[in-house]
Symmetry: C2
């Protein structure tokens, strides 16, 4: 069985778990802790980033776009997650990049670093109390992104067009990692909320809703489909 | 004629100029200044990042991976820059991500921000003298990347395998932007240097070697094929 080396709340790992489930590829999950990486990880991926996808033990595929395109090329014949003509596919990839680069830098990276990583890091490596100002600023930027998602979901069925795509998976992966902490002002963003409800209702999403991080219970509505 | 909205020393813009030239697509270059973006740019690309590729005036393609894959899908039939089977293509994309994410964060972003952007930004927006410690640290990290390039170029003809690929273009685009300032210790990295000499000798590279930034002459060996 293929395996995925991942961390529960890592948005990139979550994106790949969603993609594998949507393509119908069963996968064994192998836990990795980004704040204390095992030496093996650098042998599989010199950049040390998660996730790493192993179709078999000898052929690691790593780098988020490399894995996404690999899965589309090898599993996407029946269910395409980069659908459409060249322009439609460009829009899928533009939005995917939006979430993996811009949303990550502005929202999910600061929230996860401050709320999770710092808690587990030794003090000499930057561990300790969270920088609340950094989290607050991320939650302000989050509102701009929820506006943008609302705008997109108001024009199409899914974020990049009429079909589910890796753009939806990327957006939902980042948002759900932040949503674990329960502070997303969903009531102010009904269109984005309705899109996220549809995402959460998909069978591919179910395993993510059962995720927990040691010593940190999820927010009360994290696993609710009606939040 | 297609056009590319770009900034001379932006590594992502350079990567796309190289790709367009390798695919044999003539393009009109439209200058943009990242530190003082025109309002139009946000209409074409909500993220405001460069470059933006316009096959025609009404169809902007933006996001670095979106443009790269769009060009491969629409122009790559004769010359592929993402060559090989699914695993080989994954390696091309992994390395491309390495340079566009890791090399950019560790080397080209700090060097270009400190040496160029700060010079043109108004003081209240972060302009002023460069942070020399940040540049020095980037030049230390650069050595690790030159080692890695040497390791890759020692095993294959090009960085990701036996054929030129977007991984070579990404690496050369980032390195050449740093090389504009003339501080790369090439003598210590003969294998990486020999790979970069081959890149610089390609017709696609020639226009980049003629680049200049207002008020900043390139280093004495920037345009030399024998450096």
């Amino acid at each position: 069985m293929p395996s995925l080396i991942h961390f529960t709340l890592d948005p990139f790992s979550r994106r790949m778990r969603l993609a594998l489930a949507e393509y119908g590829v069963p996968v064994e999950l192998i836990d990795e802790t980004p704040w204390d990486p095992s030496p093996d990880i650098f042998e599989l991926n010199p950049a040390g980033t998660l996730p790493v996808y192993l179709e078999d033990a000898n052929s690691p595929v790593c780098g988020i776009e490399a894995i996404a395109e690999f899965l589309e090329e090898t599993k996407g014949r029946r269910t395409s997650l980069i659908p459409g003509d060249a322009y439609e596919r460009a829009e899928v990839r533009r939005l995917t990049g939006w979430f993996d680069t811009k949303f990550y830098a502005e929202v999910s990276e600061p929230v996860i670093t401050e709320k999770v990583i710092r808690r587990f890091l030794p003090r000499e490596a930057g561990g300790g109390g969270m920088d609340m100002a950094r989290v607050r600023q991320a939650m302000v930027r989050l509102r701009e992104h929820l506006d943008y998602i609302g705008h997109l979901a108001d024009h199409h069925v899914w974020l990049a067009g009429e079909h589910l795509s890796i753009a939806d998976l990327a957006a939902a992966a980042h948002i759900s990692a932040v949503d674990y902490f329960g502070d997303i002002p969903w009531a102010d963003y009904p269109v984005a909320k309705s899109w996220f409800q549809r995402m959460k209702s998909r069978p591919s999403f179910r395993p993510l809703l059962a995720d927990t991080v040691r010593g940190m219970a999820p927010g009360p509505h994290y696993a609710d489909l009606d939040f």
